[in-house]
Subunit: 419 residues, 2 copies
Amino acid sequence: MSQTPSLGERLDGERFWADLQAQAEIGALQPRGLRRLALDENDNRARLWLIEQGQALGCHAFHDAMGNVFLRREGQEPGLSALLIGSHMDSQPSAGSYDGTLGVIAGLAVLRTLQEQDIEHARPIEVVAWTNEEGARFAPGASGSSWFAGQRDAATILEAHDDQGTRFADALAACLAELERHGASAFRPEPFVPHAFLELHIEQGPVLESLGVPVCAVSGIQGVNWYEIEVHGQANHAGTTPEAARRDAFMGAHALIGALRDAVAGQDDQVRFTAGKFSVSPGSTNTIPQRADFTIDLRHPSQAVLERLDTAFHELALRQWSGCDVSLRATSRVAPVSFDPALVELADSAAKSHSPDAPQLVSGAFHDAIHLARVCPTVMLFTPCRAGISHHPDEHIERSDAETAVRALAETVERLLNP
Amino acid sequence: MSQTPSLGERLDGERFWADLQAQAEIGALQPRGLRRLALDENDNRARLWLIEQGQALGCHAFHDAMGNVFLRREGQEPGLSALLIGSHMDSQPSAGSYDGTLGVIAGLAVLRTLQEQDIEHARPIEVVAWTNEEGARFAPGASGSSWFAGQRDAATILEAHDDQGTRFADALAACLAELERHGASAFRPEPFVPHAFLELHIEQGPVLESLGVPVCAVSGIQGVNWYEIEVHGQANHAGTTPEAARRDAFMGAHALIGALRDAVAGQDDQVRFTAGKFSVSPGSTNTIPQRADFTIDLRHPSQAVLERLDTAFHELALRQWSGCDVSLRATSRVAPVSFDPALVELADSAAKSHSPDAPQLVSGAFHDAIHLARVCPTVMLFTPCRAGISHHPDEHIERSDAETAVRALAETVERLLNP
């Protein structure tokens, strides 16, 4: 008698890839890429498409007050809390079609396998597509997952406006009305506490590709501090003002950034330091800048390291730089998350069964999982994307990597469906 | 028998100051400051005001094809070439009322003294107000003086547009029509070669104020090279991209600017190095910059030094910086000017007769004199402005300094009027 094939082995890789390509049509850019901003027409069409796929399978479909969509397959013991897998389907303005959606379609592939092959399992399973993970249209992102996990209240989320002045509340109301009109899914008034949450996502970084590894477990998410720094100097004529009489805000910022970098350079190689915005005013070739404004994005997996660097940054900002005064403000602090060790172990073992060299990575990007990890055991899996590129039409994954990753996800799911 | 008082001593300081205040009404900003953009309504009113003052004195008034205005007093030997003194009356958008206009009103004060006190002199004298020195509305500036000196041709100047799309040619035509309508001045079809050109100007820098010196001679104008630098990196996610995998255009620019500064730091303290514009794209807090663009304004009185630094800059731009490629382009090169040594000596001696500690400065700013120096012996005098501030409503001069400066100018003029 041969061994029963695993859920991963039974999964139809061809159909999974076809689903991925089908969803990529909804909001496709020419000649390639995707634009599916949260709660826009394409994002709502993607919801309906997902619901149709689930209902055609014979699964229940739900949506909640935040527009999150769930497809449910009952277990033999419906009283057990459901295992939740998924990600998001909204995109950046000029994006690829795998960021987020890969995780939803992977969940759908698992659901198809269970349903079509009539596989019995004790625990219910749900596939979720969270609303507005990207935050590209309405900031901040992760609206659906943070609300679901009780990390942000609806009132705050509903207040957001997009660049055209459209309120999140109004865009959401239109989305919910559309779902009602299609009678496609049942309304679920309250969040529930899942048994666990699994999210497969593209790495959005270069590590797996460089290692030649198709899938790995993710042990947590880096903490992130954002800073806005103002450097105040004195505008003056570039020709008539001797060096000694200058208070050049650009040169002040240049020196300060050098010092901030030096503070960070003493750290291990897991630290990330990025000055993503930088501007000077008045911004004239022959005028010494009066003011420089820049941002720092600082990341590390350890909260203690972030706190130590935060103190160092504030101390450096107390000094004058090239005669200029500095104001430094932390505009956002998100603590690092460590995923559930037992789940990480499970996902890691599934990944290593396909690729013995699979590392455990710490995610440098935010994901919906950061919020779910506050309420239930959570883990992520990563699969490589070419050159680490994402948030860009050039985002690309190899079919063979993605198939291996979805099988590893299915094998992790399998271990959790029967207590 | 007492010594004859000098032309400077005979000059009416009260009237000079009153003229300065009167012109400051034309285009005055509230609560202070001046907006008199080249060839706008206020700039044209200032021309008419100047012509009226000259004609009321009994002088001849002329304008030329570029809208430059001249007031002429004949000498005993009208065949001699005229001594020319003056500056400009247009301003930056939010300026003070002394930059440029001081030199025109100083010329008018000299003319008043000669005319009202019926002082005879062999050589004709003219006071000039040049069109569009600032270049704030129509770039580049010094239109009137560069054309007069044969350094730029009219066709090129007339092509310029302002931000509203108005052509220089059309604004100039309206100005000339206004002058014709008032029948205020005679048209002078051709430039002439002056005997010499003298320009009194505020320093627009902090040196004279710090020395407590009211007036000094200017021995030349710094040369200026302008550079536009592009740094090309790779946009990537700030969280997911390890240091070793980054090509961060901001960090490339940061390192390159450090190296450019180091190259300049080896020079004497007459060098001026300014990064006045700086931008990054895409300019998102959590995205590694794809590209950084900045400008360098580099000045020095020695052409040899500028050429050496230019070579060093181009060599540095050939390297990669933080893995980024660099493109560096010199967008403008203006060679330094040394004023006529005999005239510098004359102006210096007049300045030192009032203030023995008067230095000889090299101008860090451009002036109309840079063009006149190509066609006739030229010199400038500087008087301090508070804190070196100019191109700003806070621009301020002390009346006593300005009076001393105009007397020193008059004494220099006096030595040139009789061969």
